[in-house]
């Protein structure tokens, strides 16, 4: 019986510390990472627009991207496969965007000479959590 209040006190204290940590100004590094991730996603949206992906694909969040030549890029974060059984990982998405014919010869998707940085950003946009 005597130990119980101490345990409760500890939990309350711990909870208070956690809350203080969340609200406090001490969260520098995670903040910077989040900012960088947001910038990457924004870069991706811009890249998807500039390379004209929307001419063939419907891409939610990209103005004017309502093409029906290829499949719609909806819910890509949850997709299991990209194409030809290629698992939907960020690396594979970059690979596919940069060299579609290397994955699926004869694919109608053209090689748009996407730079590695742009492809990476596009993948970040498509895989962003909403």
């Amino acid at each position: 019986m005597t130990r119980a209040p101490a345990a409760w006190l500890q939990i309350a204290l711990l909870g208070g510390l956690v809350l203080a940590g969340c609200g406090g100004p001490a969260a520098g590094p995670t903040d910077a990472t989040a900012r960088a991730a947001r910038a990457e996603v924004q870069h991706g949206a811009l890249a998807l627009q500039r390379y004209g992906c929307g001419a063939c694909h419907r891409i939610p969040g990209i103005a004017g991207a309502d093409g029906v030549v290829g499949p719609p890029l909806v819910d890509m974060a949850r997709r299991v496969y990209i194409r030809r059984g290629l698992a939907n990982t960020p690396q594979n998405m970059v690979r596919w965007i940069r060299a579609p014919q290397a994955v699926a010869p004869l694919s109608a998707m053209p090689d748009m000479h996407v730079t590695p940085a742009d492809a990476q950003a596009m993948a970040a946009y498509l895989h962003r959590s909403e």
């Binding site: 063939c56 419907r58 029906v68 030549v69 290829g70 499949p71 719609p72 909806v74 819910d75 890509m76 949850r78 997709r79 299991v80 496969y81 194409r83 030809r84 059984g85 579609p100 699926a104 004869l106 694919s107 109608a108 998707m109």
Partner: protein, 278 residues
């Protein structure tokens, strides 16, 4: 007026407690724990009544032809015995873990007086029971053959069954339909929508208009009817869609989309439905 208010309040309380119970997750959905007795009774009555109701207008053909019963036994052994067992033969291991456990059809055949009810269950299956629909796997005449054989189960001894199957060839089970009625012309979009479910398309694709098709394993089929290319390589014509549906592994080697043994008619029906998604 006051009674009405009290009734309305009670209805709200009942709805809220129902919602709370569902979201609490307290009801045990495991397959090792049977439903509570009242729930079991309710589901059983609902199932029995639904089968009776839906089978009432089905015309039963003559079922006593020995050749028909014979072919029914082969089909039963190939497609039914794994779950339902046979006289003196246990179901397969996986079937013993099913909940509800598959019925012993010797008893069902004796107690369900109308063979059309067995036919209906075999053809359309029963939701959430483990009983699959065979509509897209077996032809009508084959379904009736199975019903004819099941009708003999109550009087079939284990020894007789053993003797009967001794002469049979080894049975192979396969997803490829044995003989689906191929004479019917394809292109029926309504039937195609049912076929999408029966070929498990819904387990990998989001398909507008199909409840439960919400799984993004492969690409969404939204507006597939307006799409220029299939699988990134085939121009999207009706013929190309049929070809793709029937042999994805040949069209795009390495694709995760499996060959599902889709018949020409079923592929044409599915293509017709997908064509409406514009």
């Amino acid at each position: 007026m006051r009674t009405l208010l009290i009734l309305a309040a009670l209805a709200v309380v009942a709805a809220l407690s129902g919602a709370w119970f569902v979201y609490s997750g307290l009801y045990n959905l495991s397959a090792t724990q049977q439903h509570t007795a009242p729930v079991y009774w309710l589901l059983n009555v609902a199932m029995r009544q639904a089968v009776k109701h839906h089978a009432q207008d089905i015309r039963v053909p003559p079922l006593l032809d020995p050749a028909l019963i014979d072919s029914g036994r082969r089909l039963y052994r190939a497609h039914c015995a794994a779950c339902h067992g046979a006289p003196g033969i246990a179901p397969d291991a996986f079937a013993l873990g099913l909940m509800p456990v598959p019925a012993n059809l010797a008893l069902t055949a004796r107690e369900w007086k109308n063979p059309a009810e067995l036919f209906w269950v075999a053809k359309y299956g029963i939701k959430m029971s483990g009983m699959p629909a065979w509509e897209f796997r077996l032809a009508e005449v084959e379904l009736w053959a199975v019903v004819a054989f099941v009708g003999t189960l109550p009087a079939l001894s284990p020894l007789e069954y053993r003797v009967a199957i001794a002469g049979d060839d080894d049975v192979k089970t396969s997803i490829v339909p044995v003989t689906i009625d191929a004479s019917a012309a394809g292109g029926d979009a309504v039937r195609g929508q049912v076929a999408l479910q029966q070929y498990a398309c819904v387990s990998c694709h989001v398909i507008p208009g199909v409840v439960g098709a919400a799984s993004p394993v492969g690409p969404s089929l939204a507006r597939i009817g307006s799409r220029k290319y299939l699988a990134g390589i085939l121009p999207n014509t009706r013929e190309a869609m049929v070809e793709w549906l029937r042999a994805p592994q040949r069209v795009a080697p390495g694709t995760a989309m499996p060959d599902l043994g889709v018949s020409v008619r079923d592929a044409q029906d599915i293509a017709a439905y997908l064509g409406t998604l514009r």
